[in-house]
């Protein structure tokens, strides 16, 4: 039965005013405001039915928790509504183009979600006897095999939990390898255009970081790099394709020079999506490279993780790879841990996380690789590069593209803020795009370009979506060039207008306290 029980067809009665009046609730129709869980409960309720615990004499050694904890509970209808309402205040790849450069926000296939939730993968314990988890070890072994094949490398460590953890894995292997030959070195060279994780990782394992300059066309300055190499340089960390969206043409020459000086080459594989199936990093002299399964291999980003960062190694570094890892002995898979490593993996630098890596990401990534197959993966790289170049060439007349003259880009297009009206910035363009219904591009990164805007459309966007995005960005860019004051007020249509990050940092409120919150909101 329809809502319109009287059979009348309604029509708009008054179209005179388009601006909506304030509402009693603060809601705007489908956009619903949602209080914190701490503001909507008396802390006594629960959304979980459990049996009455049997009465037993406590064996907690007199350490019973006897003070209130302060955890509100919501019955299921309210909990579901709470998180559903919150979810609707998020932009997501499921809603539209998410062109964050170097983040590779591509479609997340739902088959992968289904597979990861099969009880045989989701409901097995990391310390279960290995004979009861042969299928899980087979997944790790099979995925490891494809990662080695795709990169042309000798070995792979599956343990790292995310990209930065993979960087750590790579640098620890480099340290271990050089120390093993009695050649401890202290410096890691990193280009200015590198992700912040590169220098942070090098520092995390006690290296001193020095910058390598870039050429005018946005690539590593090979001569400057060669001039700096020496007995104190442990290695370099190069992102290829780099964060200007360009392939490092001299990669092999860089590797050869670093090797000649006794160093090793780490490659940040964040941008592997541009070359998967077309180029094997192993052919470029790279010794270690992490692969973000949550980028190239489509596992979901989940609002900031979990990630997964397996690291492939050259033959020179393979003996130093971390524990544990999966090996095949006859028709049986075994887990090589501390106990058994001594036999044939005695140089391993050790363990870098509690268990065996991000199994839930391995099942998804393997499903993705098998779904695409050899032809599909190559097409992934080609379409990703095609889409990025299409964006670059469609906008270079309205946005400054500092490296466009030197040739095509790879998977991402880089623009600068040159040419915007005085007082107008990259931030204004980003916020204007929000009102147009798009997530903004990466802003102010890489640091080598003023007011950088880095756009990575990925291969999972069709031409119509790209055309709409290009039209929207063109419109916003023209407003920024013309100095349209309304752009300064963007976003006007999002759940919130521009938020005061300075105020948040000046007086941090990081947990709920009634008084503090009231004060911050004032």
């Amino acid at each position: 039965m329809s809502m319109n029980s009287e059979g009348r067809v309604t029509r708009p009665e008054n179209t005179a005013s388009s601006s909506a009046p304030p509402t009693f609730t603060g809601n705007r129709a489908l956009m619903l405001e949602e209080k914190l869980i701490f503001e909507q409960d008396d802390y006594a309720r629960t959304g979980v039915d459990l049996p009455e615990p049997p009465k037993v004499a406590s064996r907690l050694g007199g350490l019973e928790r006897n003070r209130p904890i302060g955890l509100p509970g919501l019955p299921e209808p309210e909990a579901v509504r709470h998180y559903t309402r919150l979810s609707r205040q998020n932009y997501a790849i499921d809603l539209g183009l998410f062109p964050l450069g170097s983040c590779t926000m591509k479609h997340n296939p739902r088959l992968n979600e289904k597979v990861a939730r099969m009880p045989g993968f989701a409901d097995i314990h990391p310390l279960a006897p290995v004979d009861t988890v042969q299928g899980a070890l087979a997944v790790i072994h099979e995925l490891a095999g494809w990662l080695k094949t795709l990169t042309g490398m000798a070995a792979v460590a599956m343990a790292p939990k995310a990209g930065a953890h993979g960087e750590l894995c790579g640098l620890l292997a480099i340290r271990a390898a050089q120390e093993a030959r009695g050649d401890a070195r202290s410096v890691i060279l990193v280009p200015e255009s590198a992700h912040g994780t590169n220098p942070a990782t090098a520092a995390f394992c006690n290296y001193r970081v020095e910058n390598i300059p870039a050429t005018a066309e946005g690539r590593v300055d090979l001569d400057a790099l060669k001039a700096r190499l020496g007995p104190d340089v442990a290695g370099v960390m190069i992102t290829n394709p780099n964060t200007c969206g360009l392939f490092e043409r001299d990669m092999k020459a860089i590797s050869d020079a670093v090797h000649a000086a006794g160093g090793l080459v780490y490659c940040d594989g964040a941008n592997f999506n541009a070359i998967v199936g077309r180029v094997r990093p192993g052919d470029l002299g790279i010794d270690a490279m992490h692969i973000n399964l949550h980028k190239t291999f489509s596992t979901p980003h989940g609002g900031g993780g979990p990630g997964s960062g397996p690291v492939v190694f050259s033959a020179a570094l393979a003996p130093f790879a971390p524990l544990p890892f999966v090996d095949r002995q006859g028709d049986r898979y075994v887990l090589v841990e501390e106990e058994t490593a001594g036999d044939h993996h005695g140089s391993s630098f050790g363990r870098m996380a509690a268990f065996h890596g991000q199994m839930g990401m391995f099942t998804r990534a393997l499903s993705y690789i098998l779904s695409h197959g050899a032809d599909g993966l190559r097409q992934v790289a080609e379409d990703a590069v095609l889409n990025a170049n299409y964006v670059l060439r469609s906008l270079e007349d309205v946005l400054d593209a500092p490296f466009a003259a030197s040739g095509p880009c790879m998977h991402e297009a880089l623009f600068s803020d040159a040419g915007l009206a005085a007082g107008f910035t990259t931030l204004d363009i980003a916020k204007g795009l929000i009102d147009e219904g798009f997530h903004p591009m990466t802003m102010y990164f890489p640091l080598v370009v003023h007011g950088a805007m880095l756009i990575e459309p990925t291969e999972t966007e069709g031409k119509a979506t790209l055309d709409q995005f290009i039209g929207a960005l063109r419109s916003v860019a023209e407003r920024a060039r013309a100095g349209d004051p309304a752009l300064k007020a963007a976003p006007a249509l999002a759940p919130r207008r521009r938020l005061d990050e300075t105020a948040a940092a000046r007086k941090p409120v990081l947990v709920w306290k009634e008084a503090a919150l009231t004060e911050a909101a004032e």
Partner: protein, 456 residues
């Protein structure tokens, strides 16, 4: 290819706009020698959903999943029932397929959820503040040690013998390269002992000590009072780091923060996140407010927008790698956002009432199981105080026993022989975890099978 929307006509039109005659022209900067001539070796062409699902299902079926067996494994990962709504909520595309909330105006959902998560974690662990998550408990533990180094400007960490051996192993890996010094010991399988190495820890604290790291409940399941240890550490200017690998315990046991810990880290998997063969999990990280600027990881905070409306943003980013680069407090970037959401949603459903009931159920089940198993001939219960996990000393090595039980379809516990292969004194230890998912019938099945195995 179902994940690729471009048609050949689209590709041609786009190449024309770009001014290139073929896609190969776009790869002009890649030296010819580095380009793969043919297809990827050995990889079949693209495959249908049906065929990929069949392949993966075949592999999944080769595993004995916890739900299909009497199940008693713990030691850092625990099987709890997760309400159906939790998995439904984290699969909403707006959560699942969003990125780190760098554009807060269109990421308030993630940011508010993280702020609620931080508050829940801080209260649960008994600390002032918590961050938006780490990779897992083991990596959070090492990050806490490096944070204590920054706070105290000292480089010696004393690790309790009861700290999870994988966490110790990770710390050893890192310390070898960072120059931190670690004081390490093995646990002992002595029944009736106080259950922890408090005396050793207190004796070892000196003027060079940055921190003491103690796990509660510890790897053998012992629950201990940390107050004295905290006081002694503070007297010498050192921090107390407490590690919690079973956060459900905090529905029953006093929190480490209440007992004086300065930094509390944990493995949050127990709440909202499945076993997943070891990952992804969610690291918990909380500390006293005065140390917040030395904390690793992301933080969500409160602010207001241009209209004065309350909103949430990522804050104190000047600690982080994307701003500070080599001077950052950590290299962590991607954390465990979706698992943190699962933790938070499960905790919101439980509430304090549900968490306390859940903890009581776990404890009661474990007490009953410990008493039943300790009656078996030659079997001794090692623990005095414990929560939902305890250690048995068998009359024989436990590893073959665990394997024999697995052959009978029973996942009967974790053998200390597997966790400490280098320590013969621990070889007879069997750690048994009992949660609300283990029935009394399961316990009886285990007891009878274990008795039969020990008699064989």
């Amino acid at each position: 290819m179902r994940y690729l929307p471009l048609t050949d006509a689209d590709r041609s039109a786009m190449l024309a706009t770009i001014g290139a005659s073929s896609v190969d022209e776009l790869f002009v900067d890649v030296p010819a020698a580095a380009q793969l001539a043919g297809p990827i070796e050995g990889l079949a062409p693209h495959a249908s959903e049906l065929s990929v699902e069949r392949h993966m299902a075949r592999l999944a079926k080769q595993n004995l999943s916890a739900g299909d067996a009497p199940f008693f494994l713990g030691c850092g990962a625990y099987r709890h029932h997760i309400p159906a709504s939790v998995d439904h909520l984290i699969q909403r595309g707006e959560f699942l397929t969003s990125y780190t909330p760098y554009q807060p105006e269109i990421a308030q959902g993630t940011l508010q959820a993280l702020f609620e998560f931080q508050t829940q974690v801080a209260r649960l662990l008994g600390c002032d503040v918590a961050n938006a998550s780490m990779y897992d408990g083991s990596t959070a533990c090492w990050e806490a040690i490096t944070m204590a180094r920054r706070v105290t400007r000292r480089g010696k960490a004393i690790l309790s013998a009861g700290l999870h051996p994988h966490y110790v192993s990770l710390a050893r890996t890192m310390a070898r390269f960072t120059g931190d010094s670690l004081d390490i010991a093995l646990p002992e399988l002595t029944t009736g002992a106080p259950g922890d190495d408090m005396a050793r820890l207190i004796d070892a604290i000196d003027g060079d000590t940055s921190c003491v790291v103690v796990q509660n409940p510890n790897i053998l399941g012992h629950v201990a009072d940390l107050s004295e240890l905290a006081a002694r550490a503070h007297e010498k200017g050192a921090l107390l780091i407490a590690v919690v690998t079973e956060p459900v315990s905090l529905g029953a046991v006093r929190s480490p923060g209440e007992m004086g810990a300065d930094i509390v880290v944990g493995e949050g998997q127990s709440i909202g996140v499945g076993l997943n063969f070891g990952g992804p999990y969610v690291g918990l990280f909380a500390c006293a407010e005065k140390y917040v600027r030395q904390m690793p990881g992301r933080l969500a905070g409160v602010t207001h927008d241009a209209d004065g409306q309350r909103g949430f943003v990522l804050t104190l980013s000047t600690r982080e790698q994307h701003i500070r680069r080599e001077k950052a407090t950590s290299n962590i970037c991607t954390n465990a956002g979706l698992c943190a959401l699962a933790f938070s949603a499960h905790m919101t459903l439980l509430g304090e009432t549900g968490l306390r009931n859940l903890a009581a159920l776990n404890h009661a089940g474990a007490v009953a199981a410990a008493d039943r198993l300790a009656k078996l001939p030659g079997v001794e219960l090692v623990n005095g105080a414990f929560f939902n996990e305890f250690t048995l000393k068998l009359p024989t090595e436990s590893r073959p026993v665990v394997r024999a039980l697995a052959d009978k379809g029973i996942l009967g516990g974790v053998s200390l022989g597997r966790l400490y292969p280098e320590a013969p004194a621990l070889a007879n230890g069997l750690v048994v975890a009992v949660t609300e998912t283990s029935s009394a019938e399961d316990v009886e099945t285990l007891a009878q099978a274990l008795e039969a195995e020990l008699a064989a």
